[in-house]
Structures are given as structure tokens and as C-alpha cells.
């Protein structure tokens, strides 16, 4: 089984985990990307949202599980063919939630370009933006190295 290990700087990443966990908590009851007009009746819409939430929670649990004892001991996180797909989806969910809760003041154009002067941001916003970038990096690593596993699963 293909496995990618990434060594992270604990002192940089560990402080971001509280932000990620906070976003994960918010995602327990809220969809990262609420669905638009689907013309569904109320009962079907509730079932639709419920199933999406259930899947989203399972994905976010896989993301959080990455930060296990090995991470806190050695700063290592690992992706493989089993967790790549849920983690890549969960990173998208948490990034969307970060935008909703912290990053809107930056503006969408800035978020898309990624051109942000970190030192000009206040602490909560800077930490949120660092999380946003960190999760994008995880996502890119998985897509770069494990996309075939995801496409074939």
C-alpha cells in the first residue's frame, strides 16, 4: 500500500490544531457548503442534509485522526490509500468553514490569490489563514501522490 509520511514542525503546526478542532466542532451540525436551491420537499431535504452531515463527520474524524500519538511524538503525519479520500474531502470542508468564520474580511479575491501579508493580520486571523494554507498543502500533497488511489477507489 502506498503511504506518504510528512514530517511537520510541531511548534508550528500544534498551535493550529485548536483552530482546526474548533472548525471541526462547528462542522458536526453544519454543512461546509450548504446546498443551493434543489427544489426538494422538506422531508427529502432533511434526509439529504442528514446524510451529507454524516459523511462530512466521518471525513473530519479521519482528518483529526491524522494528528495522533506519532504526530505529537515525532511530528509525523501519514496518508495512505485508505485515508486519502476522506482527508482530502475533510480539508476542503474545514477550509470552507475557516472562510465562513474567520477569513471573509480578507475578501474572496485575496483568498483565491493567496497573496496575504501575514504580519499585517491580527493573531486569530493569522492563525486561521495559516490553517487554511496548511490544509491546502495537505490537500495538494494527497492529490499529487495519491490521486490514482482516490480515482480507483
Amino acid at each position: 500500500m502506498k503511504r506518504i509520511e510528512v514530517k511537520l514542525a510541531l511548534t508550528v503546526v500544534a498551535p493550529l490544531l485548536d483552530v482546526i478542532k474548533g472548525m471541526a466542532e462547528g462542522l458536526r451540525q453544519n454543512l461546509a457548503a450548504p446546498h443551493g436551491p434543489m427544489d426538494l420537499d422538506a422531508e427529502f431535504s432533511a434526509a439529504w442534509t442528514g446524510e451529507l452531515l454524516e459523511a462530512q463527520n466521518a471525513d473530519v474524524a479521519a482528518l483529526l485522526a491524522m494528528f495522533n500519538d506519532e504526530f505529537f511524538a515525532e511530528g509525523v503525519i501519514a496518508f495512505d490509500e485508505d485515508n486519502a479520500e476522506p482527508i482530502v474531502r475533510a480539508t476542503a470542508a474545514v477550509r470552507l468553514r475557516l472562510r465562513e468564520h474567520y477569513l471573509k474580511p480578507l475578501g474572496d479575491e485575496t483568498l483565491e490569490s493567496g497573496n496575504v501579508e501575514l504580519e499585517r493580520l491580527d493573531d486569530p486571523l493569522r492563525k486561521a489563514f495559516m490553517c487554511y494554507l496548511f490544509l491546502a498543502t495537505i490537500q495538494e500533497l494527497i492529490i499529487q501522490h495519491l490521486d490514482s488511489s482516490i480515482l480507483e477507489s
Binding site: D39, L96, L111, D147
Partner: protein
Amino acid sequence: MTVSQSKTQGAPAAQSATELEYEGLWRVVVLNDPVNLMSYVVLVFKKVFGFDETTARKHMLEVHEQGRSVVWSGMREKAEAYAFTLQQWHLTTVLEQDEVR
């Protein structure tokens, strides 16, 4: 292909208002968001629709540059299934009924 299939199906003798409302062609439309990475959107299109790299990139660029892309059209039930899957991947997705019936 899907167009001709839907148009050649015979209408049932009696249909409910919901059935009539849902018949015809439906478009699955993905809307732009400022968060999801281009590479991620391409991956999702390849995974969900089986698009090749070129087709997936074409739709991704439509979303990015025009704000939306029609990624599939056909019968309502299947359109709902695709929309659900795209929403599982956190892409903002809506269904639109085709005006030409």
C-alpha cells in the same frame, strides 16, 4: 444521448404534479467558490463523472472564469444523485431545469 433517451420515453397515463414538475431534462451546475483548489475540483470531476483530464480541466476553468459550469444533464433522479455526490465533495451545486422541453 441523454436528450434523445428522455424525449422518446412515453408519458404514463396519469402523473402526479411532482412527477410532471420533475420530468424533462435537468442540469447539474457547479458554482464557483473562492476556497477549493483548482487541482481539487479537477480531481472531483474526474472521480464523480469519470472525465478525462482535459474535460475535467475545461469544466474547472468554466467554473473558475465564468462562475459556473454545467457538468451533466439528464433525468432528475440521476441529476440528484450527482448533485448529492458533488455536495459530499463540498462543491456548491445546484440543479436547474432545462427550459427546452
